[in-house]
Amino acid sequence: MSSEEFEIGEDELSLLETLDHVLDRGLVLAGEVIISVADIDLIYLGLNVLLGSVETVEEVLGERARRELDARLSGGPLPPARGGAEGSGGE
């Protein structure tokens, strides 16, 4: 496995993990607009299809999301760390 392929795998993971945290967890307050979360599985399904590859993310999400991803990958605020438990990663 080339290091480049490995990087792509990591990006996808952190993006999916991020979406999982933000969409399905976090404090639920009774806002004034009540969003039905019944379809959250469908949202994931769509996201999983969408996130098949990082190129697709760039293509579909457009310039803004790409910039945001770049910011995450270049050590923007708090990029999710990976590895560590396998003895590989870790700072």
């Binding site: 404090l27 969408l50 457009g62 995450r72």
Partner: protein, 292 residues
């Protein structure tokens, strides 16, 4: 591009916002003192909608980070349709996370779920006032702590092999199948397959419990997260378990060592561990502590 003066009179502001068909998206909340200092000193991250800056709504000893969003996208009915578009959702979920991360890195904040919408600043302030005690208790509980995720993956083939090796009964059945007539051998093999699948699931559950107990001892809280049916890792492994732990910053090394030790012990059985984080405490943000 419109610029909203942060010190503008609250009543005018609400009127303006309504006239523009706008509402407020809430990202996270925390202590008024910590958050207002950040708003004065730091350059803030982008909001979920381009052109709208992050704002602070202060009430009691608390404050909420918000930004203006159009009701045409975030109003009831409208947002459900928007959420069905994965590209729209993913871009905004990322912005939500980046905004929350920014504050979680340097302050004690409670992250909110994506898509918490209030119509006016007054309503956000009233929500903070009314729930000041409960929300303050959550801020206290999360103080100095971060969330770390532990994903456990199982290599299905390696795990099945280990299970047959470990089970005398399955080994005996496999030998019987080899010696049996074709019809009986077929039935035996089917039975072995089903027993191995049962055992694999049981073993994954055992490992999940181990993770929860052993890493939980080095954390201030633990939560099991749901695993989607047939969920796989990018390497095609089965997802055996996903857990979240609330870890005090000062105990992270202890936590990491516990994770590494467990991962090393379980690697020969076909399990791979992955540590993700630090996250804002999304899984420990509920106002009622559910895990103690």
């Amino acid at each position: 591009m419109t610029t909203r003066a942060p010190k503008k009179n609250a009543a005018d502001e609400a009127g303006d916002r309504r006239a523009q068909g706008a509402a407020l998206y809430v990202y996270c909340l925390g202590e008024r003192e910590q958050l207002s200092a950040l708003f004065e000193e730091e350059s803030l991250p982008a909001s979920v909608e381009e052109g709208a800056a992050l704002e602070l709504v202060e009430a009691a000893h608390l404050a909420a980070v918000v930004s203006s969003v159009p009701l045409s996208d975030y109003g009831e009915g409208a947002i459900e349709a928007r959420l069905a578009d994965p590209a729209w959702t993913a871009a905004r979920a990322l912005s939500h996370q980046q905004a929350v991360e920014f504050f979680a890195r340097v302050a004690d904040v409670v992250p909110l779920r994506f898509g918490t919408i209030y119509l006016t600043r007054e309503r956000v302030a009233a929500m903070l006032e009314e729930n000041a005690d409960a929300l303050g208790a959550v801020v206290e509980r999360l103080r100095g702590r971060e969330e770390w995720g532990v994903n456990v993956y199982a290599d299905r083939d390696a795990l099945k092999e280990k299970i047959v090796e470990a089970s005398e009964r399955l080994r005996g059945m496999a030998q019987q199948a080899e010696a049996a007539a074709p019809g009986q051998a077929y039935l035996l093999r089917k039975k072995i397959e089903s027993l191995r699948a049962d055992e694999s699931r049981a073993e994954m559950k055992r490992v999940a419990s181990e993770v929860e107990t052993e890493l939980g001892a080095a954390a201030e809280g633990a939560a099991r997260l749901r695993v989607f049916k047939d969920e796989s890792s990018e390497r095609g492994e089965a997802v055996a378990a996903k857990l979240a732990f609330l870890v005090a910053r000062g105990r992270f090394e202890e936590f990491r060592e516990a994770a590494e030790s467990l991962a090393a012990r379980r690697a020969p059985h076909g399990f791979r561990f992955e540590l993700t984080g630090p996250w804002p405490a999304y899984n420990f943000a509920a106002t009622e502590q559910s895990n103690e």
